[in-house]
């Protein structure tokens, strides 16, 4: 059990570094076991370093910075139990324009292999999508309209 856990921990930690760097344009993040000898006795901290800032424990970062770290964590978990499609519902609500468009870049990069269906209110996300659906409601009845179709090879 311990070996399986540590194997998972290492893989997820590796992917966290990868995604956090992409989402922040060069930042660095890693997971730290509170009790490396007895991993099940302690928790797992996350240390984050945003570009040009000192590294801190994630709980000391701002609301949006913690959101960025949470998104990177979710993506790191994704690679551990891969799936061929993902549905994300407003994961970008607390992100500023810079981080939203970085997230969109990550999705575009992986869009060749994986399907992403992303529910969002952010224009930076909608603008980078390969296909866009608008959902609207008339008198309590919902409907959809296909708004855009970019060449998937873009």
């Amino acid at each position: 059990k311990r070996r399986v856990f540590m194997d998972a921990f290492d893989k997820i930690n590796q992917q966290l570094k990868n995604y956090f760097s992409k989402l922040t344009g060069g930042g660095f993040a890693f997971l730290q076991l509170e009790n490396p000898d007895e991993p099940f006795q302690g928790g797992i901290d996350m240390i984050v370093q945003f570009p040009n800032k000192p590294s801190i424990v994630v709980s000391g970062a701002s609301g949006g910075e913690r959101s960025v770290a949470a998104v990177a964590f979710i993506f790191a978990l994704k690679d551990f139990t891969p799936s061929s499609f993902y549905i994300l519902d407003e994961v970008d609500a607390h992100l500023d324009a810079f981080h939203v468009s970085k997230l969109a870049d990550v999705l575009l990069e992986e869009a060749g292999k994986i399907q992403f269906i992303v529910i969002t209110l952010k224009p930076e996300m909608v603008n980078k999508a390969q296909k866009v659906y608008g959902v609207y409601e008339r008198n309590g009845v919902s409907s959809v309209i296909s708004a855009k179709f970019l060449e998937a090879t873009s």
Binding site: G42, G63, F85, Y86
Partner: protein, 168 residues
């Protein structure tokens, strides 16, 4: 397998006219005003994949998943809700011999559900077995509900360890 199409009929805010969401591989954005029905589409996917907890689909009970009508639009309450998901199975991950696999579920006001695979009725257990061969389920990590990120920003180290432990 990825999702090629989602069809909704009488499911939550979707009325008696079938609404079709045609999808590609790649990156699709779904946008629209507050309350327009975006998260209801995600709920529809959970529903079609066999989700039993109506609370996870933000409904008090099964009947609340069915379109409750609209006076303004002159529409009656629907008798049932139906969601169809069409998967692309060209990678053969699902043990079904067609390259397109259609999964659907209907629910009636008495709470009874009817599942179908490529149009033919099938038991829930059987369809879940087929989907799980392709690592698809309503509880898998690939569906991230609204509010998940906000909750994740406040977790403590023990909770973070537990998330990884649960994955193994």
């Amino acid at each position: 397998p990825y999702i090629k199409k989602i069809e909704l009929k009488g499911f939550k805010s979707f009325g008696p006219q079938t609404v079709k969401v045609v999808l590609d591989k790649g990156f699709t954005a779904i946008t629209g005003p507050n309350g327009s029905g975006k998260t209801n589409i995600m709920d529809a996917c959970l529903f079609a994949l066999g989700e039993l907890s109506t609370r996870r689909m933000r409904a008090e009970n099964a009947a609340k998943l069915i379109f409750h009508g609209s006076e303004k639009a002159g529409l009656e309450k629907a008798k049932m809700a139906k969601v169809v998901i069409q998967f692309d199975n060209s990678d053969g991950a699902m043990p079904v011999d067609t390259t397109t696999v259609t999964v659907s579920r209907e629910v009636y006001r008495n709470g009874q559900s009817v599942y179908r695979l490529n149009g033919r009725r099938i038991s829930r257990v059987h369809i879940l077995e087929i989907l799980s061969m392709a690592a698809i389920s309503s509880t898998s990590q690939n569906i991230i509900p609204q509010g998940t990120i906000t909750r994740l920003t406040d977790i403590n180290p023990m909770e973070r360890r537990k998330i990884i432990e649960d994955l193994i």
